[in-house]
Symmetry: C2
Subunit: 418 residues, 2 copies
């Protein structure tokens, strides 16, 4: 299958792009139309699909179910009671809705962490996105829970053969406060033995850091280093409360950090993301939305603006998180965090890309497209989405979208009544 994108704007110049199977094959102003499908992209710009580095997709089911609450009552009275009754079918429909929203806002790759891997994987695969998906692990120091988790995670890992090559599997201990040292070590070993990546939460709140110091005499990153957990295959969500020693450890071990501004602000976890220090140390930085129960939507364009603006004010410096580096954190970072050649519009890269409708007031005038995308647009500027060489959205329509919204809403209302 070959797709020719004609007359698209790339870095403010008009060109053509030829996609062959799932790869960007050629970028040139003079490609002859020898394709199975030709897309006229006049007055449209081509950009990489967004990479959502941290989400819990199925939590779309809880969007707007509980807001404006402190973290613990929110979890204990609202979110956890709902999650206790979740089924794999719920997760499937919540993830379908999430994928729909992500496609409509120009995301093509995600790292997801949740329960019921089967529901997530089936939904992401069907919707056509690329996902490094996980089965989140908790044992709360209970030996029995750890045993069950180990068995389940191996089954999920084996089930990967049922899905397309867009679906990847990674290990995901929830956090150091919810996973025992022995399970963390088992996860590390399982990842090494099977060539899998690891994704986990770290230092989302200051309380978590203080608890770690109290329990282990070490800050969270130091603790993970002490048990041999770190490596270039480990990515961390949040990382708000890191000290300079921890940043050095992350850099020395090649770890990556994913900033989730909407969630961190809304739960009042803090506006402390150490962009400048992490960048200086050479730690790759990506962006994520977190789940919609805290961040409320999955729009990576909005996430870029939030990250940049709140970063500038945190450092009292408007030059921090400039438009280009913010855009890269939301796109090119995918390669470092997933190991896949995605997140760039270059020959040889995976054909994960979007066409932006330039005929929008918020993109007018167009002095600097990246500035407009980071600071002015939201995900609704995306007109066409191609992932793995397949068209997922054209003219802002995704096949079957009304049915997905209707069914997912019903699943959410039923869940709230259980």
């Amino acid at each position: 299958m070959r797709i020719l994108i004609k007359n698209c704007e790339l870095n403010h110049l008009v060109t053509n792009i030829l996609i062959e199977d799932n790869i960007i094959k050629q970028i040139a102003p003079d490609i002859q139309p020898v394709a199975d499908k030709v897309i006229d992209a006049t007055r449209k710009a081509v950009v990489p699909g967004m990479f959502n580095g941290h989400t819990h997709a199925a939590m779309t089911l809880m969007r707007g179910y509980a807001d404006d609450m402190p973290l613990m009552p929110w979890l204990q009275e609202k979110i956890w009671p709902l999650e206790k009754n979740l089924t794999e079918d719920d997760v499937y429909w919540g993830t379908k809705l999430a994928c729909l929203e992500m496609i409509k806002t120009g995301t093509t790759s995600i790292i997801d962490m949740y329960h019921f891997f089967g529901g997530t994987a089936r939904a992401v695969d069907e919707m056509g996105l690329r996902g490094m998906l996980t089965y989140v692990g908790f044992d709360f120091e209970l030996h029995e829970r750890a045993s069950v988790y180990k068995k389940e995670v191996q089954e999920y890992h084996k089930s990967l053969i049922n899905y397309s090559s867009r679906i990847g599997f990674a290990m995901a201990p929830h956090a150091i406060y919810s996973v025992s040292k022995s399970l963390l070590k088992w996860i590390r070993d399982y990842a090494t033995d099977n060539g899998l990546r690891i994704h986990t939460h770290i230092s989302e709140t200051i309380g978590e850091v203080n608890d770690s110091i109290k329990k282990y005499g070490l800050r969270p990153v130091q603790y993970l280093q002490s048990i041999g957990f770190l490596g270039p295959d480990v990515s961390f969500a949040h990382g708000l409360y890191l000290d300079s020693d921890e940043i050095k450890i992350l850099a020395d071990n090649g770890c990556q950090v994913i900033h989730n501004p909407a969630s961190n602000l809304k739960l009042a976890s803090g506006n402390h993301f150490l962009f400048r220090e992490l960048k200086q140390a050479g730690v790759p930085i990506a962006l994520g939305t977190d789940g919609t129960s805290s961040g409320n939507n999955l729009d990576m364009y909005e996430t870029m603006k939030l990250a940049s603006l709140t970063g500038k004010v945190a450092y009292n410096d408007p030059t921090v998180w400039n438009a280009n580096e913010t855009f890269e954190a939301a796109t090119a970072s995918a390669e470092k965090l997933t190991g896949l050649k995605t997140g760039k519009i270059e020959v040889g890269y995976l054909a994960d890309l979007c066409l932006i409708d330039l005929n929008l007031p918020e993109l007018t005038p167009n002095f600097n497209l990246i500035s407009n995308l980071v600071y002015s647009a939201n995900g609704n500027c995306v007109d066409t989405v191609i992932c793995d060489g397949k068209v997922l959205m054209e003219n802002r329509r995704v096949p079957g979208e009304d049915e997905i919204m209707k069914k997912a809403a019903q699943v959410a209302y039923d869940l709230a009544k259980r």
Copy 2:
């Protein structure tokens, strides 16, 4: 002219709304279709049009022209050189583009502050929005400039008869550091004599406060009180650096404050807006986008999310700026700041309202519409806009939008070359 909106959702209940001329005449589930126009609003929610309490509309021309710069080089090297060459025609086209963007994101009322009142007023009037428009005053202590300004402002005031009743005129000294005491007093008197409101910038940066203390021995609000400037007809943009005495003075005088989160964050002015203290004191709070040269867009839905989320993190309290009070700051506050019966969906109010398309993934599920609008949606959820009883947008199309974008972009590029 009568418009019947059928089967719309209002506060999660299905009803009908009858508009007669420019007023909401009736809200009931059983209105007979005796209207000149019937809008089928099935699966659409009705909400008040947004009120953008502080903007410089024509600055759309400078969107993305200069970002990621410190305030003074940004102004001195980029913005002011461009503004020196502005013409009334530029302001007209920049404001047309701004109005288009505001209509497309559900705003119906604005307070604008800029140069060339004639260009602004003509554009806002033609586009159908409601505007409390001003001619910004500077004299930098120069007697000659003050004289010219006084003459011009009186001419602009007289020119109001050329426009529809949607166009209002208010006084707008730029700020205490750019306007002399004598001109401030003249503006205050002119406003009193002519029953006009006053809109100005205050305490946007800590430097401005320190300068005021140095020059007058008083903080900015105290200084304005000392010259008899304050009253319930005065609204202030920014107000980031207020102390408790100033907040009490604002409350005692019935003044209002407009928070502009995007601009304050992007210029790194500070994340200090004193929502809790101002609310406690009873000072009305509104929201604004500021100009697109700093905030980059005019989307009041995005502004709500920014205000709420950054407020929560500033107070380290996720219950601050809850969804309902954030929504009110963006809608119902219009009445207090402009004196007009707008910003609410109630019988007797001006017919300034929007229909929200509920068939959107970011509004699914719909546990709480206000939460979804504040935390998940952006302005693209708006399907239909009615202002002063006239339909400005239906099915997301505004008549003439392509021509406005094309012409305004050309004006912006020409301006940048001058």
